[in-house]
Symmetry: C2
Subunit: 724 residues, 2 copies
């Protein structure tokens, strides 16, 4: 019937399946793959043979819906809920106050320890029957407990003898969205803003709900919707109605909404002639505005404020200070239990002082002067979200101030959303740092969770990496940074490894042949990026404005501290910023024990070496190499590490779908290319000073320094046109 063809027919059908119906990462860590192990499946099914789930509030309804979604997908069967309390249940989910007191006692000696957000998840024998009970004081504890229960099942944990008493160590677990009202996102690399302001308040995008679910699943309970480089329009009635619609979606998931307050709003939208915080009309305007907001959003969280920082207006415009500004807003919010989150990210081009010292100098004198409902939000380091910075000296230095941590989840200085970098490693390094402010063991974590100084309110914020990309975060592994931030805000003492383990199992697979090597890859990834971008304490040598790629040669920007040359200070003699007591004495802002360590290059941890010291090119490192050779080999090591990551991922291929494999593989290839770019550009440039040959083992660039200097990226993502 056919003309016989002599070529061999290779049929696609045997290798290619139909187009995948995957969600391309949309489901995040809440995909709830069906349990494959039949014994475990049976165990879990027995556990859920009969469920009592306390009914009531919107929060409990949301929790129940989550339980159904998660369990039915993992078990592949319909759950069996019982309505009356006299059945033989196997899983009981209820608030402690509604449970038989005899049973409550078996759950916890003192139920109050779990507080308003915690829960107890425990297998108990009660009246001769083995049960699993999830109990909490408040509805939100039930929701968090349901998510934890599902998460344990995703990890295929044995639940038969479980005892879990959990509560968050930090009160405010917050995402900061740097989202503009035109839907661009400052330093956003995952598409447009989630917030479709144009269609709000009527149109509720399904993503708002799925965003709230994802946040609640990791304990995030606060979100600031708008860019800290704020626009007053968000406080106009038209926008507040839209904000209210979002707050309504988030409320059942225990999430409060915050807004960024532009300090000059009373002038811009209020028609006043001043925004002086001590002016009576200004104070009245803010009082009225706050009352207007709470009439719409009774559980509104409060304001996040960037004032007198990088051109943003603030109290200093009127000869007032941060305390005047923050407390003025705090007074307006206080009757509603609202908070002011005042950012400490300040530095001035008019101040010749080392930029790393300025925030401390400006804020520490105010210790103890801020109102009870003010938190001072401080970046993890004293410069700006670099791949590595020593902890910010303000931590430990303001015992009478509620200091809130600000981490960056979006990868402004860490390869955007193209580089695989597991940030919980960075977060943990900071949280575990010892401030020595009350002696050894005074870790940053203890400052942040309030335990060191007995703060009333504690908080941790993460600058969001979320956009409207199908997979939310651009890079699938960047989901792990959102996840990890949430987990650490809940408990800053859990390890990065635990987080990686949980996330991989919930997202990809439980197979140890997949989990173990890929977890190792994640754990090495942050050190890799430090190595190929900013080894040995180098920092802020990024290209201008967009911060994409290397620009250590940039020296002609209008503000001195915007130039990379300000930070590395390379010259014929050596490289590094002398911040020791013989230099800017930034070390003097730390506790004596810390300062002593940092002051001496011999005791200073080498990862901070050039942060604190300007050293000659032939300075001898701990490994015996001279500084130039050591630096060059660090750059090479970063590139090598990315190559190892690629190898690891290639071996992970059998355990995941083709699409999952391919997506990360493509991104790793970009990462490798860019790691090489960093190594080549930085070494070629620094070589013009060191005048030394590359040591053995470091690949030579095939391109010239001039080539790298000629590269321009006018449309790099994450910046707004006016910044070009």
């Amino acid at each position: 019937m056919f003309h016989i063809k002599t070529t061999i027919l290779v049929f696609l059908v045997f290798t290619v399946y139909a187009y995948p119906q995957a969600h391309y990462g949309y489901d995040l860590w809440l995909g709830y793959e069906k349990i494959g192990n039949p014994n475990l499946l049976k165990e879990y099914k027995d556990l859920t043979k009969a469920i009592y789930f306390e009914d009531g509030s919107d929060v409990l309804n949301a929790a129940k819906k989550e339980l159904i979604t998660g369990m039915e997908k993992m078990l592949g069967s319909t759950l069996n809920f019982k309505e009356t309390p006299n059945t033989n249940y196997t899983l009981l989910i209820a608030k402690a106050a509604t449970i038989d007191p005899a049973l409550t006692k078996k759950l916890s000696a003192n139920f109050y320890e779990v507080g308003s957000e915690g829960f107890v998840l425990k297998s108990v024998i009660h009246r001769g029957k083995k049960l699993i009970v999830l109990a909490a004081n408040e509805d939100i504890g039930i929701l968090y407990g349901v998510f934890r229960l599902l998460n344990l099942m995703q990890q295929q944990k044995d639940l038969r003898n479980i005892t879990l008493i959990e509560y968050p160590k930090i009160n405010l677990r917050m995402l900061n969205h740097w989202d503009n009202l035109d839907r661009t996102v400052e330093r956003g690399y995952a598409g447009y803003s989630l917030w479709n302001w144009h269609k709000l308040p009527e149109y509720i995008d399904q993503r708002y709900l799925d965003y709230a679910r994802a946040n609640a699943s990791i304990g995030i309970n606060a979100v600031s919707l708008t860019n800290v480089n704020a626009n007053s329009h968000i406080l106009t009635p038209m926008y507040l109605e839209k904000v209210s619609a979002l707050a309504n979606v988030f409320r059942p998931y225990g999430i409060k909404v915050y807004l960024t307050a532009r300090f000059s709003a009373p002038m811009e939208i209020g028609g006043l002639k001043t925004a002086d915080p001590l002016d009576a009309d200004v104070r009245q305007w803010w009082n009225d505005k706050v009352n207007e907001i709470y009439a719409l959003i009774p559980d509104f969280g409060g304001f996040l404020v960037k004032a007198n920082s990088e051109g943003q207006p603030g109290p200093q415009n009127y000869g007032r200070n941060h305390v005047d500004g923050a407390n003025m807003l705090a007074q307006a919010l206080q009757p509603h239990n609202g908070l002011v989150i005042w950012r400490a990210f300040v530095y001035s081009e008019h101040d010749p002082e080392d930029r790393a010292k300025q925030a401390y100098s400006e804020f520490v004198p105010f210790d103890g002067q801020f109102s009870d409902n003010v938190l001072i939000q401080t970046k993890n380091g004293a410069i700006d979200f670099q791949p590595r910075e020593p902890f910010h000296p303000m931590f430990g230095a303001m015992p009478n101030t509620q200091l809130m941590m600000e981490f960056q989840i979006t990868q402004e200085y860490l390869g955007f959303s193209t580089h695989l970098v597991f940030l919980p490693q960075l977060y943990k390094e900071v949280l575990d740092s010892d401030t020595y402010s009350k002696g050894k063991g005074s870790t940053v974590a203890k400052v942040v969770d309030g335990s060191l100084d007995r703060n009333k309110i504690s908080g941790m914020a993460g600058v969001s990496n979320i956009g409207n990309d199908l997979n939310w975060t651009g890079h699938p592994f960047a989901q792990a940074n959102w996840y990890g931030f949430g987990r650490l805000a809940w408990d800053p003492y859990i390890s990065a490894e635990t987080i990686a383990d949980e996330w991989l199992k919930a997202t990809y697979s439980n197979d140890p042949n997949f989990v173990d090597p890929v977890k190792k890859m994640m754990l090495i990834s942050r050190e890799a990026v430090v190595n190929y971008m900013n080894p040995l304490g180098l920092h802020h040598i990024f290209d201008t404005g967009h911060h994409y790629g290397p620009g250590p040669w940039v020296h002609d920007l209008s503000r001195p501290e915007w130039n990379p040359t300000y930070y590395h200070k390379a010259d014929a003699k050596g490289i590094g910023f002398n911040r020791s007591h013989s230099g800017s004495n930034a070390t003097g802002q730390y506790a004596t024990e810390v300062a002593k360590t940092f002051n001496d290059p011999k005791t200073c941890p080498e990862e901070y070496l050039l942060w604190f010291h300007h050293l000659p090119w032939d300075y001898t490192l701990k490994n015996g190499l001279n500084l130039w050779d050591g630096m060059a080999l660090k750059y090479q090591e970063g590139v090598d590490q990315v190559e190892e990551m690629i190898e690891t991922w290639n071996k992970a291929r059998p355990y995941i779908t083709h699409e999952e494999y391919q997506e990360v593989q493509m991104l790793l290839k970009i990462q490798l290319k860019e790691a090489q770019w960093w190594r080549n550009a930085c070494l070629l440039y620094f070589q013009t000073y060191s005048q030394k040959a590359l040591p053995a083992g470091v690949e030579k660039s095939t391109k010239s320094l001039e080539y790298y200097q000629s590269l321009k990226f006018p449309f790099a993502p994450g910046i707004r046109p006016q910044w070009d």
Copy 2:
């Protein structure tokens, strides 16, 4: 065991399912729901018992993959492919040249009639066996045939006695993306640009593939990736590499890539002192640039050019004309079979002539002077994508020029992506219009498909409504406009009703209780938007810049023809733009028969009345009402029609998922609110001239004209910051 609660326990589980795993519209019309009807399922399974699918090119592989995807989902079983030709097949898919000639003859008397892109799908009895055969001359015909076959199954058509001979009536079936390199989209209302330039060329987003599949499924074979307000950077090596990566993805789906060429590129990126099209260096630069492009993309389509229009550079900057400019580029592209698509959307603030006349005046004198590989792309009407315009007078007036149609799919003047408007109604109205250029029956469709003037190349472009929203187009029903545009570019003679029917069945359901009323709703939707925005020939009375909502009062913009007052010319005596022979004589640009009809308000179709005539407020309409009352009732009718659409959608609820229902319901509520806004604002404003009371049946506004005039939307989507 529990404290008995006296309240009745209402259990969510009985009404609420787990969180949906729907794709939220991501699958478009390619969801391929499983066939429910058991008889039909059996029929289709019999048809696919054994399939022979010719193997070979990437295009054939893509076609086979589509067949597997679509059929396996609809049938719920695995397809059975046979590798050798001597089996008893039931479905044969192969190129005509490889099929038994005796069988080929049964398929078509003359196979060449289907051309290079067409196909034959036919059930035949061959050697005593009943078969279905899909055959084509070229691989791409097979792909189109597979998609049509799947589409027929989605519509649950009986295939047992099928005879379908199909080929596209128009050569170039093209999407124009107005996407900027920073990923904003001019007049885009569905999120960011699909093109993630930052991660290209290495990272191939799954969406690129799914976009190509969707386009191929409706026959689109050309896409211009970048905004007509062009940026030269797209022509630099760095970006061309990225474009090449996209071209590689699109190639197996028969789609060629085009770019917008900024006329001043030789100066901006070429370092030349001029962009004069007659300058030898400029011509050489374009020759070199074109050669560079084709070295990377051997099947590159060509350039789309907006020149000397709204501030874009062009040949007139150098004292040259459109022919000089277009033919210069055409000469560079000609050796590679590339095309120049030169836009006719021109008008000048320095020209006092009626804007509606300017494109005709500027282009018609050049008829016959453009090179063979130039197409002149002309918007459907003489102003700018209004809810209704008479057909552009250039259609029919340039018999020796290849005129290409430009429709707008994105809803710049039609409610953005919040209003449900089925645009094939608009497209068909234009295509069916009779130009009388070669006597009665000289429809615009015949001009566009080239049959009237025997053009070598014909084309139809649609300005894309696609962005990175989960559902691609913002409004789920806006998918129907993408779909419908493609279908009409393939065949401009099919009816809007057929398109609605196909799309509804492929997207939602085959249940006639759903399809029939919802189809009616779609078919009325375009007239509804005309009624509540611009009835009786009114046009361009949109608010400034963003075109969101009414702004008939705007009169102070720098260019006269940017002001709505220029277009409606309302005064105490009446309203409308006199374009008849007693006015601007725009009617004189049409063929005599058409001009005659338009010139007399008594014969002018009332839907164009105020487009061509300035008439007194008490002018008597055909229905006996005076103009003011008739206009007011039209505005009301538009609002009433949206209310009917809401009722229709409420009744459609049982046939779709809760999420599908809810999404459109929320959007229809916005549409109703905005329809009322249009009615109120326009009637309040025009009333200040007519000084007449509203007729019975028209709802009075509860808000004042001043209120409507005070509304500001600085962050309306689809505009770039610099246009604020």
